[in-house]
């Protein structure tokens, strides 16, 4: 397992419009026989509320959208839900969803020759024109290979023919698609709403013209006119020491750098309008509305904040309408107001009050996944939980010491934190969760040990303001992984042994003080997955062979601790890299120099590389930089480069009560 145990073409199915191919039939009858034998079969049957099945033959461009993780994680993903709706709204275009199948079903599918299928109409993924895969994290790469193999699609893009779907990667990890360059035909970088329509137009035209020039021509058109990065059209040369010498197009007509896509008016794209309501239990059982996209707080570790600039707000009335429509369409009991830092919406207070008023008395929960340390966030959380339970609030100081927070540009002081938790505990919140990272640049044991002191002060404060001993604080730690397109893209990642040792000291420091030990929870698992995430995040094309070797060795679901095997990755890396100039450490714990060509330099996220370097130097000097929404522009480069601009309110609008919500339509009693 799993050396291509199925002959190719079994999953091919084929489009009815392609001469000589079989009509596309549902594989559900074959799948149904396997379902009684697997865990949680409901995740494979589809039929969810608001799912769509369009007629195959009346569509000429067909997308399979994949989230490469289990259904319970993938279904709530906003990116897939948005694109699913955007595409299905277009006449003649259909989109269906597919997720990673668990190993129990995978084994049965291989045994019974059932191909990778979509959950909507159970069509074989190999029959679609495009397979779009959304990578929120790099740890889904092995699952991509499983899906390709089960679909009968050759793993290497170079071996695919016209009868195979075009495999496109998207999502945040696609900002460095190099480690999966061998396996994908293209990457769509940035916002997907308009990009998928551009790709659709190119595919439609090429098919309508009788597929001139075959697959190669289609990819060329996608690269030229569709804003798609096609790795095969770029050649990477290396220096003897292993660094990249240069990345250059090997075809006329393709750009030297591929720019990210940016949607400028979120109110024009109010998706998802009718979110899919799963029958199976999933990780987020709520209706999510993205209240703005982008963030300019400038936290230097945060890839999402860097690559999604500029800030674009949805209007308060647009949000109100989406909540209203979404709740009516789903029956969800909870609404999550999503963004990278929701309290930063210019009209968040009016929005919180407006929504709380609208849905008072309807048993509808409102939540703000707020993470900034700010007493204002507590006020917002109070408003949103007016009549609900106040269990826990989460804040993310990220760095344990004042010095380290300046390095990462998280402009929060210890006093800010104490003020914030004072507000939280005094207003009925019982538990505060604090999120930190370990392994940040310049960090020492001393920085991390200050987390213990901070947590103890939090408990002391909580006890003082409530007069209760039953106050809890949970300290949750994640290992820092340097990411492309951030000021820390040059940084050395801390090796997992040092990370684990540092956190063992922290755990001991928390436990050693009897007065607080029981009140402080400590959550930290293992630094090793972070090392592999680091390899995949900042890797280049040579890492693809490691991914393949791990997959062939049985690697699956690397985001799940029960499936992840560090040893499998480490030994595959050792085998693949051999005596060559690079190895696992070279990709992870090595600091890069200013002049080094980074594997993702030809992917343009709008950020000026010189600015990123300057910000990296500011970080090392412990200097902070402000937010351009309320201070002058600091020339990160995005707005001029992408011809975009920050788009924030206030609009001055308010949310008016909704009569239909306050009093649900009565069902009159018949006499």
């Amino acid at each position: 397992m799993p050396e291509r145990s199925r002959s190719s073409g079994e999953g091919g199915g084929g489009g009815a419009d392609y001469p000589g191919r079989m009509p596309v039939a549902s594989v559900f009858p074959q799948l149904e026989r396997l379902l009684p034998l697997v865990q949680k079969p409901i995740q494979y049957v589809g039929g969810e509320l608001n799912a769509r099945v369009k007629d195959w033959d009346s569509c000429d461009v067909r997308w399979a959208l994949m989230y490469p993780d289990a259904y319970e994680v993938g279904l709530p993903n906003q990116g897939v839900q948005i694109l699913y709706e955007v595409l299905n709204e277009v006449e003649g275009v259909l989109a269906e969803r597919t997720y990673a199948v668990w190993p129990d079903l995978e084994a049965l599918m291989r045994q019974h020759a059932v191909p990778q299928f979509t959950v909507d109409a159970h069509r074989p993924v190999g029959a679609f024109d495009v397979l779009g895969v959304s990578f929120a994290t790099e740890l889904g790469y092995t699952n991509l290979l499983t899906a390709l193999d089960l679909a009968g699609i050759p793993l290497e893009a170079a071996r695919r023919t016209e009868e195979h779907p075009v495999v496109l990667a998207g999502g945040h990890a696609a900002f460095n698609p190099e480690p999966i360059a061998d396996f994908i035909d293209g990457a769509v970088v940035g916002d997907g709403e308009q990009a998928v329509l551009a790709v659709t137009r190119v595919v439609r035209e090429w098919k309508a013209q009788g597929r001139p020039g075959g697959r190669d021509e289609l990819l060329l058109r996608l690269a030229r006119d569709g804003g798609v990065y096609v790795p095969a059209f770029y050649t990477v040369d290396y220096l003897p020491d292993g660094r990249i010498q240069r990345v250059a197009p090997n075809r006329p007509g393709v750009p030297w750098r591929v720019s990210k896509h940016t949607v400028m008016d979120l109110d024009e794209w109010p998706y998802p309008k009718t979110p899919i309501v799963p029958l199976a239990e999933t990780v987020h059982e709520r209706m999510s509305v993205e209240i703005f996209r982008g963030c300019t707080r400038g936290c230097r570790f945060c890839q999402a904040g860097m690559i999604t600039r500029p800030v674009r707000e949805r209007s308060i009335t647009g949000i109100g309408a989406m909540v209203e429509q979404g709740l009516a369409a789903t029956g969800f009991e909870e609404v999550g107001l999503l963004s990278l830092s929701s309290a930063d919406h210019s009209e968040i207070a009016a929005l919180a009050k407006g929504l709380a008023d609208r849905y008072e008395g309807t048993n509808t929960g409102l939540s703000l996944p707020s993470t900034r340390v700010d007493a204002f966030n507590v006020d917002l959380a109070n408003e949103l939980s007016r009549n609900g339970r106040r269990s826990g609030l989460t804040f993310a100081p990220e760095g344990g010491s004042e010095r380290l927070r300046a390095v990462i540009n998280k402009m929060v002081t210890e006093d800010d934190l104490i003020r914030t938790v004072t507000a939280a505990y005094s207003q009925g919140w019982r538990q505060v969760k604090l999120y930190f990272m370990c392994g940040l640049p310049t960090e020492t044991d001393e920085d991390v040990l200050q987390i213990a002191a901070l947590a103890q002060r939090v408990i002391e404060t909580g006890r003082a303001v409530t007069g209760l001993r039953d106050i809890r604080c949970t300290v949750s730690i994640g290992g820092f992984v340097p990411k492309p397109h951030t000021p820390f893209q040059w940084a050395a990642q801390l090796d997992h042994r040092t990370t684990d040792a540092r956190l063992a000291k922290l755990r001991e420091a928390i436990r050693s003080d009897r007065r607080y030990a029981k009140a402080i929870g400590f959550r930290y698992h293992d630094g090793r997955p972070g090392t592999i995430e680091g390899l995949l995040s900042r890797g280049d094309r040579r890492v693809g062979a490691v991914i393949r070797a791990v997959w062939e060795d049985g690697g699956r679901f690397d985001g799940w601790s029960e499936h992840f095997s560090f040893d499998r990755w480490a030994s595959a890396a050792a085998r693949v890299f051999g005596e060559g100039p690079v190895d696992l450490d070279w990709y992870t714990v090595r600091e890069r120099q200013q002049t080094e060509v980074l594997p993702w330099d030809h992917i343009d996220a709008g950020l000026d590389k010189d600015w990123l370097w300057a910000d990296w130097q500011e970080a090392l000097a412990g200097r902070e930089v402000d937010d351009c929404r309320w201070s002058p522009c600091f020339d990160c480069g995005v707005c001029p480069q992408m011809d975009t601009h920050t788009q924030v309110g206030p609009t001055g609008q308010v949310l008016l009560p909704l009569p239909s919500v306050r009093a649900p339509e009565p069902v009159p009693a018949g006499e």
Binding site: K40, P41, V45, V277, L279, A280, N387, V667, P668
Partner: protein, 245 residues
Amino acid sequence: MVRTPDGPPPPPAVQRLRLHYAKRGRLRFSSHRDFQRAFERALRRAGIPMAYSAGFSPHPKVSYAGAAATGVASEAEYLEIAVTRRCEPEQVRALLDQALPNGLDVVEVVEVRSGNLADRLEASVFEVRLPGVPVADAEAAAVALLAADAVEVQRLTKSGMRRFDARAAVVALDVSAASPGETCAILRMVVRQSSPAVRPDDVLVALRQVADLAPPAPPVVTRLAQGPLDAAAAEVADPLAPDRA
């Protein structure tokens, strides 16, 4: 500083309704918990004026009874809800049926007149299709099972591995053939509600034990009816009949 919910207690229930629903086709793979979530969302979508429990996490008042196992299709599932305004049962049926995914279908709604619904669900009729099993083999196994006084089987339950008798709960067991030319025996079994519950799988395990009946493919199980048992006639009556009268 303990908070209590502001405002008045939730409005009281003024009417109780009993629902007969079905779990069909691919949605037979939904678990009971899956159904509960889907149903509570459907109540909200349909705007049913549900009665809620009090407290910080109020729950709509729904009583579930005798739910079929994951993977078992059912034509006869029942539950009861409480509402704060009087509702016309047929309208509730139509609204909820519309709000649930296809395959979770509301068959009938009646107003509660009397009695306890769970008490009425004394027995179930199951149809078990056994693809690949010749009718004669199934008949021989059925005869052997019915001839036995007791057949102990074991199954992993929530409280660990349990051994129990699967024979006593079987009130009737008939075998018929699927369409001509198809090798597929169809069992129709009437099974009494007991504790621990004897499920069709348990009866199949018993058939294997007494007669080596080993279906080559997973059985397809459908609950056809659930309700008061007429043991003499080996039939199950409609549990909503007393409410409809």
